[in-house]
Amino acid sequence: MGDLAWIFFSSMVVNNFTLMLFLGLCPFLGVSGRLDTALRMGAADMFVLTMTAVAVWFLNAYVLAHVPYLRLIAFIIVIASLVQIVEMVIKKLSPVLFRELGIYLPLITTNCAVLALAIFQTNRGYGLLEGLVFAVGSGAGLTLALLLMASIRESLDLADIPDVARGTALVLFVAGGLSLAFMGFAGLLSSS
């Protein structure tokens, strides 16, 4: 139980995918301009991450032991098809949700966070439950970072940013500040 809690908080804040490991930067920089899109992106991320965790556990347990050299190809194909399937299912079941998620689902395919989750899960030898907790924690971390960045960027819309700092440079400065702040979580739940 303690281990699961540690996995969750470690992946959510201590080793936050975006702010500490630089994963999923593309949506972080690309769709963090507005709060509602950020929220949807986070939700989509979370969903795909969880699905991936299950699929990767299955792959690792039953397939890749025999063909280790196909690991990367298997992961990327599984993720891509997963996203495609999820997209189709959502489209069928809930057109409203599909419209809400819009372009964010396909974007996730090339989101390095998902592939990284698969690789980390494999390297660390997580079981199904651990993998799920890890995925949910990472997804929560991604969403948290996205939401923070989006709300900050919305408020910075009204600031008089110097010309040279406008755009990505400013976002990176803010990300650096967030990353610095998140360093405070280091060692969470591992001190006892």
Partner: protein, 336 residues
Amino acid sequence: MSAPPLLVTASPHVGAGDSTPKIMWNVVASLVPVVLAATWFFGPSVPLVVGAALVGAVGAERAFGRRGTLADGSAVITGLLLGLTLPAGLPLWMAFVGGAFSIAIGKLIFGGLGQNVFNPALLGRAFLQASFPVALTTWPLPGTAETWWALRGDNFALPFASARVADTLTGATPLGRMKFEHQPTALWDLVLGTTTGSLGETSALLILLCGGYLALRNYLNWRIPASLFATVAVVETLLHALAPARFPDALFMLFSGGLMLGAMYMATDLVTSPVTNLGCWIFGAGIGVLVLVIRLWGGLAEGVMYAILIMNALVPFLNRWTQPRLFGTTRIAPGR
């Protein structure tokens, strides 16, 4: 009768009499006793370290800022506050770098006064902490040098050079001792300030008084420290009642470390705290919870700085969620 040169301005034609520079310089003035007290405890290193941070901050504002922004006093506050979060023995060049970073990256990159997301002083402090972790966690003991005049560390280390090991006695902060050795510190030492710690972390009482002055003049939102103290006190009292051996009592938590300085001066930074009163209550409570989480379950002994920075990032959120209820919208007029 000839017409005098008439001024035509927009209403209102009278003001409450406060001005931004006046607020800022009042904050500066209220910090002077804190600096003096720190000097009393830690000797001539204090004006040196605070001065270096101040020069860094003011220099950056002068170099990169818009014309005439020095007079508003905000850069001076940042420099002073940063200086007060540093240990007495810190090499001056580091304090200078911290001050310059605070202003240049913490403030000017966002467009200057009023636009920044994070508290500049704390961002500079976090930068220094991440850059020079050893120097920033070497705490001289107060009043232990042979003479008051002795420096409490290698203040004059060359730029980019490490500090040489000084012969001043150093020790763990009360929080560090509690966390890693389970040794309590007498409450009076915490209140008066005769403990190790960064310059402005020591005398809780003095900071409470100086901050109280600002609160009385409405130069800070008293709701932030109030909700912060209340949160820490309530949660910590409960935890202490559950497991007295594991969790220290609430008074220790309130008076140790940077909580007072953070609550009165950092969290209440007007620019980086919520504009709404409800937002301020939540903001203070959030800081309180995060401080406890980091202090009790995290890897660091002290978490005030990080707690405030994280809550700073949440401020746009809070502002959005706690918009005031528009007059005449939800409440149904009674008697109709």
